[in-house]
Amino acid sequence: MSVDLDVQNVTVRFGGIVAVNDATLYAKQGQITGLIGPNGAGKTTFFNACTGRNHPQSGTVRLGEQDLHGHRSSNRAHHGLGRTFQRMELFESLTVLENVRTGPAAFYSSYRPLGLLYSTRKETKQIKARAEEAMAHCHIAHLQNKTVGDLSTGQRRLVELARAIATPFKFLLLDEPSSGLDVAETHAFGKVLSDWVNETGFGILIVEHDMALVSEICQQIYVLDFGKIIYQGTTREALSSDLVKAAYLGEVSVA
């Protein structure tokens, strides 16, 4: 069964402002799809609409066969839709290991009526294994006993990613995950994402300003401007499109 992310005709208004206007996007499993656009285009609002953080006035969000319309954030997560945040949302007072373990623990907590109160032996085993695997995947196993508040931005980004990977999500939405990383860190980060998609077969929708990263890892790109999807196509096509360049730079001609 496919777990593609299918967003149809989503509109989000804040009072009189239309932040996302009739946006439609289809992100396939097994590949990384990019969502780009200038600041204020509505990318994070679009993400929030997908994950239930805001309430679209119209449109549908489906993950595979599951209609997520009207579900709260935790339910959408439960159906396999995970996300990271533009402004990192880490459990600052916990260690790296505790952060990464909390992801799957939160996920399993709503599996059983008493799941919030205690974890079964089987769950504990799974959480441990998943956390170790995710930390190894993100190359942060050596940091596991450090408090995340003491880490560099790059390391913190990796912790956030490891937490998402450790959680049994089927599709990830990553909001500017390379923000604050240097070139080498960004490259390594991109490799982690590609490896994860290749190994699991799941999909990623990524909002990113770093076009080097986008061109490196994304197979498909959607361009959002003033809340509307103005372009969709392969990465190569998108990055050479005059329409896309104009959306980013206004009327300035680009070389």
């Binding site: 997560a77 799941g115 937490r163 061109s215 980013y248």
Partner: protein
């Protein structure tokens, strides 16, 4: 027409004073992001300083007014600005602890100096005026209303039309950015706090002639301004003023209706209008309209150093051993104090679990304890639940009664959790504050609780009791409560051990929660509820669970506490007064964040320390609240304390200059603002300039 004027005229006058207090509150919150729980105490302090000058020293009222305005309004405002700056990056819980600490400090200081009884400040504004029908509209009332409306209009215009006004709104969001716009954020902040404090001081002085100079009454009345501020969503000044007038008129209108009833509960409604309005706003206004002010780049709590399991177990065993030994090493007459200490430790433990483990806050915890105390007391004496197991002839046994008392507190915990589900941290604190006062002023009076001002008997196991007749029950009830293992609990030592055994069970519950998945998720929720929700945890259910569990423990603690004196009273200033909930938060605030040790230390500081030298000195006891408040403030601001923040921005500049790093340039020139760096992006063919990296969508 006369009837209409009878409540309209005083209603508008009261509304004007509420409005003045509320404007000051909104002004400081809007411009600093720090909600000042001490706003009412500041008003009371202004009234006392005025009273000192006008009545005690015999100064002319304008001079006394001016002195009070300068000392409390201006100087107080400047001090508060420093405090708010130190709290700028503190977590919400810390700002609540600090401002509640200030409230406790000022309230205790005024009580220590002037005593708890009312002082008459005398009418200093003219009381004569034109008569309309049977109602005299005094010139004094006209002046107050005129001043209030003028101030509201002036401030509205100031915020909307002047550069400084806009700067005052902006400073809370990004002071560094404001500094780049040629506005000095420190000056802007100072002006806001001085204005806000002056409004509080003026409202205190204007209220004093009508209500008398009493710290308890004045604090409560100004807290009533929270209702008006809530109508303005803690931001909109015109709406705040409208809300104040609405509340003022309603407070004066309702007595004509409620006096017809016999119910004390209904009769208390008029004075509870502000708190009911407050809670209604929190329950029904969309959450997006009540966002927390200020940049919450809050520094997170560093977790307390974790000890290994054997070390923790050994420490807890040693602590338990020490507490078991207490009745054998302290004076026999002091054992009762230690029994109360154990009961307080249970209540502190329930509060600590809520505050430090889950990041929630409750300013009504003694309300839960009062529910537990009254319910368990009534079950043992009047036996409402005579059909339950372990029940004597008409009453239930002590353990069952105390547990049921805790269970009855649970729905109240769930009610308090509703704002916690909907709203951000500071509004939860305000809602619980309002709920605590509402509990005391309305529910404590209900027959199922303290039934007016009567004492609720709370016999120990196997002890005789005698409950007098009430308006609802004409026959007195006498009897003996069910015994427990044949032990004589009139012996203080035995009751101490009974209380200690309950404490051990409660500590076990806390440890169990802490080590369970729920504990791990609660700690994560304290850091980022959003992230936890995004990973599948239902944070709403978690909030309800932790509030209910905490309320249960506090209810049980209340039952144990009432057993110490074998009675419970809901009188103002008594064991279950709403102010005690505030003192609890202040005391817990400076006793660390360990789940077991900190509550025990807090209970020791609150209950036991006063019987030992030098704290047993009457002066020390008198100023105990001042010390609690000062310590809470100090611990809250300590992480941010350094020379630069103490001296302020100008001081920082001087300090930099003194180090030779300044070169005479303004501090704004040296603000750490990273220039926007263009980022080159690589397309398939060649790099293209796009924009700054890391900026938001």
């Amino acid at each position: 027409m006369n009837q209409f004027l009878n409540y309209m005229v005083p209603g508008v006058a009261d509304g004007s004073v509420y409005a003045l207090a509320a404007i000051g509150l909104v002004l400081t919150y809007k411009t600093s992001g720090v909600f000042n729980f001490a706003h009412g105490a500041l008003a009371a302090t202004g009234a006392y300083v005025f009273y000192e000058g006008y009545v005690e020293q015999g100064w002319k009222w304008p001079f006394a007014f001016l002195v009070s305005l300068l000392v409390v309004g201006v100087l107080g405002g400047l001090i508060l600005e420093r405090l708010a700056t130190l709290l700028a990056s503190a977590p919400t819980v810390t700002t609540v602890v600090a401002t509640v600490g200030l409230l406790v400090l000022l309230q205790s200081l005024m009580t220590a100096i002037y005593g708890a009884s009312d002082k008459k400040s005398g009418d200093f504004l003219p009381t004569n005026g034109p008569r309309v029908g049977d109602v005299t509209i005094s010139y004094g009332e006209m002046m107050i209303t005129g001043f209030c409306l003028g101030a509201a209009l002036a401030l509205f215009a100031f915020f909307g039309r002047t550069r400084m006004g806009r700067a005052m709104t902006a400073v809370v969001d990004d002071p560094n950015l404001l500094a780049l716009q040629k506005s000095n954020p420190a000056v802007v902040r100072r002006l806001s706090w001085v204005l806000g404090s002056c409004f509080a001081t003026i409202s205190g002085m204007l209220l004093a002639p009508k209500l008398g100079v009493s710290v308890g009454v004045l604090v409560l009345i100004v807290i009533a301004a929270y209702g008006a501020a809530a109508v303005g969503l803690f931001e909109n000044l015109p709406l705040t003023v409208a809300g104040a007038f609405f509340i003022g008129i309603l407070v004066n209108y309702l007595p004509s209706q409620t006096q017809k009833t016999q119910s004390l509960f209904l009769q208390s409604m008029p004075r509870n209008v502000p708190f009911i309005v407050l809670l209604l706003v929190f329950l029904f206004v969309p959450a997006r309209m009540l966002t927390e002010r200020g940049v919450r780049n809050a520094r997170r709590f560093k977790p307390p150093k974790a000890f290994s399991l054997p070390v923790t177990a050994a420490g807890l065993a040693a602590l338990l051993g020490l507490m078991i030994a207490v009745p054998h090493v302290v004076a026999e007459t002091d054992v009762t104090v230690y029994s109360a200490f154990v009961a307080y430790a249970i209540i502190f433990m329930s509060l600590g679990m809520l505050v430090w483990m889950s990041g929630q806050i409750s300013l009504c915890h003694l309300g839960f304890a009062a529910i537990g105390a009254t319910v368990s007391g009534k079950l043992m004496t009047l036996g409402f639940f005579g059909w339950l197991p372990l029940v004597g002839d008409k009453t239930v046994s002590w353990p069952v009664a105390v547990i049921i008392g805790g269970l009855v507190a649970i729905p109240f915990g769930a009610i308090v959790a509703i704002p916690a589900i909907r709203l951000a941290g500071i509004y939860v604190a305000i809602a619980t504050f309002g709920f605590g006062i509402l509990l005391q002023q309305a529910f404590y009076l209900a027959p199922v609780m303290f039934d007016g001002a009567s004492l609720v008997q709370h016999p120990r196991p196997g002890e005789e009791f005698s409950v007098g007749a009430t308006s609802k029950r004409f026959e007195p009830v006498e009897g003996t409560s069910a015994g427990l293992f044949g032990i004589d609990f009139s012996n203080e030592k035995n009751y101490y051990y009974l209380a200690l055994s309950v404490l051990v069970v409660m500590a076990a519950i806390v440890l169990l929660v802490q080590r369970s998945r729920l504990g791990a998720l609660l700690r994560a929720m304290a850091d980022s509820g959003v992230a936890l929700e995004a990973h599948g945890a239902n944070t709403n259910v978690m909030r309800i669970i932790v509030f209910c569990l905490s309320a249960f423990m506090a209810g049980v603690g209340g039952g144990v506490l009432a057993g110490v004196t074998q009675s419970a009273s809901g009188n103002p200033g008594g064991t279950f007064d709403y102010t005690v909930s505030l003192i609890f938060v202040a005391v817990l605030g400076f006793c660390g964040r360990r789940p077991i040790l900190s509550p025990i230390l807090a209970a020791f500081a609150f209950q036991v320390i006063k019987i030992y030298p030098p704290f047993d000195d009457p002066t020390m006891i008198k100023y105990r609240g001042v010390m609690f408040g000062a310590l809470a403030i100090f611990v809250a601001v300590a992480p941010a304390l350094n020379l630069n923040t103490l001296l302020g921005t100008r001081g920082k500049e001087r300090a930099l200059d003194a180090e030779g790093g300044g070169g005479g340039s303004s501090v704004r020139d040296r603000l750490d603002v990273t220039p926007v760096r263009p980022v080159t992006i690589r397309t398939v063919e060649e790099p293209v300039l796009l924009g700054s990296k890391g900026s938001g969508a």
